[in-house]
Symmetry: C2
Subunit: 384 residues, 2 copies
Amino acid sequence: MLKFNFQNPTKILFGEGRIADIAAEIDKDQRVLMTYGGGSIEKNGVMGQVKAALSGYRLFEFAGIEPNPSYETLMAAVQLVKEEKIDYILAVGGGSVVDGTKFIAAAVNFQGEPWDILAKQAKIKTALPFGCVLTLPATGSEMNSGSVITRRSLQTKLPFSSPLLYPQFAVLDPTTTYSLPPSQISNGVVDAFIHVIEQYLTYPVNARVQDRFAEGLLLSLIEDGPIALEDPQNYDVRANIMWCATLALNGLIGAGVPQDWATHMIGHEITAMHGLDHAQTLAIILPSVLSVKKEQKREKLLQYAERVWGITKGDDAERIDAAIEKTRAFFERMQVKTRLSDYGIEKASITKLVAQLEQHGMVKLGEKRDITPEISRQILELSL
Amino acid sequence: MLKFNFQNPTKILFGEGRIADIAAEIDKDQRVLMTYGGGSIEKNGVMGQVKAALSGYRLFEFAGIEPNPSYETLMAAVQLVKEEKIDYILAVGGGSVVDGTKFIAAAVNFQGEPWDILAKQAKIKTALPFGCVLTLPATGSEMNSGSVITRRSLQTKLPFSSPLLYPQFAVLDPTTTYSLPPSQISNGVVDAFIHVIEQYLTYPVNARVQDRFAEGLLLSLIEDGPIALEDPQNYDVRANIMWCATLALNGLIGAGVPQDWATHMIGHEITAMHGLDHAQTLAIILPSVLSVKKEQKREKLLQYAERVWGITKGDDAERIDAAIEKTRAFFERMQVKTRLSDYGIEKASITKLVAQLEQHGMVKLGEKRDITPEISRQILELSL
């Protein structure tokens, strides 16, 4: 096991009806800004529950945080926070709203050009406190300190993080997910699954617990993912998916083990250039990363094949290939296509994608930092 | 899944050599009291590492916190904290030292009779901040807010807890466990194993993740427990045991599921009356709890049999009995005896043990609160 630090202060309020409990988490005298995306929280009653819980508070609203939240939009929110002297932000929505809120919280009191927080990974010294009501299980942003922001004008999507950016609390009410369109559940399950894989399918360091926990999350997503699509109001299934997605990226399963975020980094470029959903890009890239790096990931791929997919027959190479195919088939079963060509992206785009990776410094990806732009090109070509 | 709150602010510093990092966690101007047990930390070099890390601090010492830490001893430490105007406590040792330190931290500024914190479960309003350097993986106290204290004069062992009593940090350096006597590793593995069981072997609530995580911890302890005895300086094995023990009782696997702490509560009375090690009492009582409540725990026992022990043959009753026998055999393999008679405790003691349970209000134990004193008597008789 590798050395690690682990600390995660976010308070989870889990279960049906827990939105009613948020007033206990925010001081009564705070000027609160509710951030959200489109109008879905109005239709499904979540906004009504939040307003009921916060009646008596000075409550402001900022709507329109889009999927792959944009720097341009968020800077308008930063302006509003300053004008209205906001003390506390409440993000209500999915991972994009939470990610966007983290950027707002970080940028408000940042000394200098806020774009540097992303482009130069400038360290922030303060952040506005914030909590969240999650309505879409996927990114894990509700219980971690990371965020990914897109600058549309530059076709650039960049991550940042700070220990100051853990949500103070996160309400996880599985019933808020009942009204999600199936594609968002599909994307969420695939996103969470791949978060786990990226902290698991590297090389062994004898970290038994982390491996077992990762496998437990994968098995749970495989068991409940399809049911979440077939039976949208199954409370326990939605609850399991929601808790899986949070635990997939709250730091726990990644503590003390190598990690490989190549799939995410290559995927970000596809979203920035072609506008695909985040999870679609991951479902395209992951199987190719596993294929291209199968020798390096050999031992963990064999463990994954046996423990997660029950594959025990065939020689090593056959079991590894079968596990990769099972992975791809799972994404397809979750209604997420796994080829660039499924989305109309052709070979001609690859050179530009690789150039963007280079421009963003993504030239040494993977757990061994050996996925060079040339290897990324191979991965993309295998994904056509 | 049941509703739950989960929040755990303790910072984990994991890995060899991490004691050197504690100065970053404690303000330089603090008057620090180091609490510990016997002299083992002097012999194995841990005390030297702590003193080196805290050179330049005003460092005080309180030695002699015993296994099953006693109210009598701890009140002497409370006196020292007051006299020396201590700001911060650093517990260095195993679960008993950490538990004892929690009581000191709680009692120092308690308004009223400190014994009420235990006897009347009086709520504390403040606690002195503290951190810990763990040297014995077992209780999980290093990352939770609970504690168990014994008042020798009353032969009484009682638990208490408060959200104010999470350690601010915990150093988990597996090499500090190399010099432990085998019996302490045996006890630690059994204690951690039973913590997991008590949050797992109840009735199903479709909490897939919690079940998989619990099973992952059990499988890891079964795999590495015996090796920890055979090969004391195997770093990865000691690391896995240490991380398992912490995660077994940090609130995570118990969030959203029923729990059954009957084994602990009955075990506490045996320790208080007969002085057995904590883990010995658990190893005696757990198999009997599972046998007596096997109908109520039927579904989870079958799941446990299959997923943890690989038992798939035989009818339900046979698989359940086989799983209980495997559990007992694991404790015996870990060199912990599993019968009251192994420790010279005879049937005549049972009436007194049951009377003590009643006196301490332990009259409705188990996940259904249906383990009455009469059922506790059956459990004890089956444990002879």
